[in-house]
């Protein structure tokens, strides 16, 4: 807990500092895919109960950074991570740390919807089951229902909970994946373009949801939509070619960016 306070102190000098806690912190994060370096010395704080948006052109390393936060990169053989990333002050790359617990605490929604080839119900129930979050069938039913409701999918699928999740439309699938992530009650939710496959209404619903979730959870979201970043996030980080170009309060970023590249990107003059 000491570390947290230190972090607070450290961040207190920043102009926009209020009373916040750093939930996750990346220091000098470098990532390599084999020979190729994909991230260069990224330093970024994720504040608790805030939404942090990662923006930047395609291929700049947003997903890569996001995947570092719950060590999903471990699954890629050739991927190596250097630098420190902490969750509540603990180094998550510490060998003593438990990846499974970490991932339960730091949930993830992927860019491509990847429902399990199981029923909709089973898709959601899977997480709570493995983490032992429910003691009874009815409790589990409850979790499934609230998760689906939070993801704005419940009404569409309530009659077909036991049909395969893969039979849903693209957008429905993605919302299913969000519901699945919510179902395990993580502390931090990482979302890799969660709305890229959604229509405006579903998107609005998810954005609303994100805003709701913020009260209890910490959220990091990768998005291509400036509007979305502006709508949902409190802080925004701009990546470019593997570098963190700029980071700051969202409103400031969008109105008064410091970096030329950010400005160009936001105004669409980039390239």
């Amino acid at each position: 807990m000491n570390m947290l306070t230190e972090a607070q102190v450290e961040n207190a000098i920043q102009p926009d500092s209020e009373n916040y806690t750093v939930k996750m912190r990346g220091s000098n994060v470098c990532v390599f895919y084999g020979e190729k370096q994909a991230l260069f010395d990224v330093n970024l704080d994720v504040r608790q109960n805030q939404v942090t948006a990662l923006i930047g052109p395609s291929g700049c390393g947003k997903s890569t950074f996001l995947r570092c936060l719950n060590r999903m990169n471990d699954t890629i053989d050739i991927c190596r991570v250097r630098g420190d990333i902490t969750l509540d002050g603990e180094d998550i790359y510490d060998p003593a740390i438990d990846v499974v617990e970490l991932r339960a605490r730091v949930g993830m929604v992927f860019q491509k919807p990847n429902p399990f080839p199981k029923s909709i119900y089973e898709n959601i129930a899977y997480g709570p089951r493995i983490h032992g979050l429910s003691n009874s069938k009815s409790e589990l039913d409850g979790i499934v229902e609230t998760s689906l409701q939070k993801a704005g999918l419940f009404n569409e699928v309530k009659d077909r909970l036991h049909e395969p999740g893969t039979g849903l439309s693209g957008g429905q699938q993605q919302r299913l994946c969000i519901a699945r992530a919510i179902a395990v009650s993580p502390e931090v939710i990482l979302m890799d373009e969660p709305c890229s496959a959604l229509d405006p209404i579903a998107t609005a619903k998810v954005e609303e949801l994100i805003d709701e979730l913020r009260e209890n959870y910490t959220i990091v979201i990768v998005t291509h939509s400036m509007q979305q970043a502006a709508r949902v996030s409190q802080r925004t980080a701009m990546f470019h070619l593997g570098n963190l170009v700029e980071e700051g309060p969202t409103d400031k970023m969008f109105t008064n960016p410091e970096d030329k590249r950010t400005q160009d990107y936001i105004t669409g003059r980039f390239g």
């Binding site: 807990m1 947290l4 306070t5 009373n19 916040y20 806690t21 939930k23 608790q48 109960n49 969750l87 509540d88 438990d98 499974v100 617990e101 339960a104 605490r105 493995i130 983490h131 032992g132 979050l133 009650s185 993580p186 502390e187 009260e215 209890n216």
Partner: protein, 529 residues
């Protein structure tokens, strides 16, 4: 949960509280168990393999060497007519040569036994050697000839347990009359030896019956088998049979050679042991790499029996099998999985193919007999018919494995190809098939492995047969490795047991070679997406 004061975050988390920690511990335990079970399963399978292989290898090793005896053969012009070799009495030449080594051996039975030391295949080999010019006629030549199976086994130590040699302090006196010998020893060590050998004591006389180890006294250029031993003052006396009266003098020292396995418990008499030992003592025998086994066809004589005919037969049969089963199996799988409409008919076909896999292989033999032999008039006992039958048997395996592999290719790949205007055939052959190749090759490996080891269906089409000539083509009579193994395993001669194991090793080598190609291919196709 809901009213988090920021600083407390984490400590009360659902995922870090004590219950969760305990759960996590259990889950990790499960994880470790699971992993160890996996590793254990692999290790267990590996262990089985090692056990099986090590048994085979230890049994097989002796078969890869072979003992030869070098004899001076009279190949002068009177004996050998190079123009007309078939008129030459090669057996006579060989027999004269071996008998020439032991001129003292008399009596029809004994001479027959002596001749039996050399393989009955030796005359044929000699003739072939003359034909090929390996041995030139014209004079007396030293030629190495294979020993008979029992002599060979004896030299490999597989017939009789050797008890070693006990040197005697002083040479005994031997008085021999008509093959019987009276011996006087100057010390009593021989009495001890007789006792250890299991002699039956009666009135102070130690009788070495047929149940006792053999004691062979070597002294004075003679070899005497001791029958009775008796202590006498200052020494001992004994009676015995003279087995060889003109033994080559190896050392001046007198000694007793002990053969621990009693004579009644082996198929190799003391006399034969003495002869072979004598040949060895003269440096006439040598152990060589067993080329006969590796490079010649079948034979009823263990020492002349080779595996090459079966190897070629298996190779030809497998070629036919592969050439039929692989393309047809893959094509059928492609059709059923990618092209055929999914209706009741194809469902029936699918079940049917699964069912074919459970049809006992001998039934395929019946089918092959009816269709290929009787109807299409394929020649009996030929790799062609065998290959066809085994191909039919292997087809279901390949089809099932291929279908599973094709099914595992994600539909998005097909859509991608179709979406840019590839035809279905192009989609399948350019994209789906390469991705399914690893699974298809696995099916092929397993199917071919099964086909390679199969005997039952071949019985029906005449491939379970004794065929000496190495097959020259797809229609000449042939047998295959498992049949050869099966037949050798069923012959009474003990020497065939090692041959059996060695043949199994060869079969496994064949299998490994066959698989290696497929495995290399499979590795090249493997990718995860």
């Amino acid at each position: 949960m809901t009213d988090t004061t920021p600083t407390e975050a984490g400590s009360t988390s659902l995922h870090t509280n004590d219950a969760a920690k305990a759960r996590l511990k259990a889950r990790y335990a499960a994880e470790r168990r699971f992993k160890w079970m996996g590793a254990g399963a692999v290790a267990l399978s590996g262990l089985f393999l090692v056990i099986l292989l090590s048994t085979i290898v230890t049994q097989a090793l002796p078969a890869f060497r072979m003992n030869y005896v070098t004899l001076p053969l009279d190949l002068s012009a009177e004996q050998v007519d190079m123009e007309n070799l078939s008129a030459t009495n090669f057996s006579g030449i060989v027999n004269d040569a071996i008998m020439g080594q032991f001129p003292s051996v008399e009596g029809r039975q004994e001479q027959r036994a002596l001749r039996g030391l050399v393989s009955t295949g030796a005359p044929t080999l000699l003739r072939k050697a003359l034909e090929s010019g390996e041995v030139e006629a014209g004079d007396t030549r030293q030629v190495a000839l294979p020993l008979d199976d029992f002599s060979d086994l004896y030299l490999k130590g597989l017939v009789a347990k050797d008890g070693g040699r006990e040197a005697l302090a002083a040479a005994p006196q031997i008085v021999a009359t008509d093959g019987a010998a009276e011996i006087t020893f100057s010390d009593r060590s021989v009495v001890e030896l007789a006792r250890e050998a299991g002699a039956i004591e009666e009135d102070g006389v130690l009788r070495l019956t047929s149940g006792a180890s053999s004691l062979l006294l070597q002294a004075d250029g003679r070899i005497v088998k001791l029958l009775e031993v008796q202590a006498a003052d200052g020494g001992a006396t004994a009676t015995g049979n003279v087995l060889l009266s003109d033994a080559p003098q190896v050392s001046d020292e007198a000694a007793i050679r002990i053969v621990e396995t009693p004579e009644s418990q082996r198929k190799f008499t003391d006399r034969e042991i003495v002869w072979v030992d004598s040949l060895t003592a003269q440096g006439l025998t040598e152990s060589r790499w067993n080329e006969i086994f590796l490079f010649s066809g079948a034979s009823r004589e263990p020492e002349m029996a080779g595996i090459w005919g079966a190897v070629v037969g298996s190779a030809l049969t497998m070629l036919v099998t592969l050439a039929l089963a692989f393309p047809i199996g893959v094509a059928a799988a492609i059709y059923l999985e990618e092209f055929a409409p999914k209706n009741r008919l194809t469902a029936i076909i699918e079940v049917n193919i699964n069912n074919l896999a459970a049809v006992p292989s001998i039934v395929f033999g019946l089918l092959g007999l009816a269709v290929f032999i009787n109807w299409f008039s394929f020649p009996r006992s030929a790799p062609l018919a065998g290959g066809f039958v085994l191909a039919l048997m292997t087809l279901p395996t390949i089809i099932i494995a291929s279908r599973a592999a094709l099914r595992a290719v994600p539909p998005s790949i097909r859509e991608a190809a179709l979406g840019i205007g590839a035809s279905k055939v192009q989609t399948v052959f350019h994209h789906v098939l390469p991705l399914a190749m690893p699974g298809i090759l696995t099916g092929t490996i397993i199917g071919m492995a099964q086909a390679l080891g199969e005997t039952a269906p071949l019985l029906m089409i005449g491939m379970v047969a004794f065929i000496v000539d190495v097959p020259g083509g797809f229609t000449s009579p042939a047998t295959v490795l498992p049949v050869q193994i099966f037949m050798w395993a069923d012959f009474p001669e003990p020497a065939f047991q090692q041959k059996t194991s060695a043949a199994i090793l060869i079969l496994l080598g064949f299998l490994v070679l066959m698989n290696a190609i497929a495995v290399v291919l499979r590795k090249r196709f493997e990718r995860r997406w």
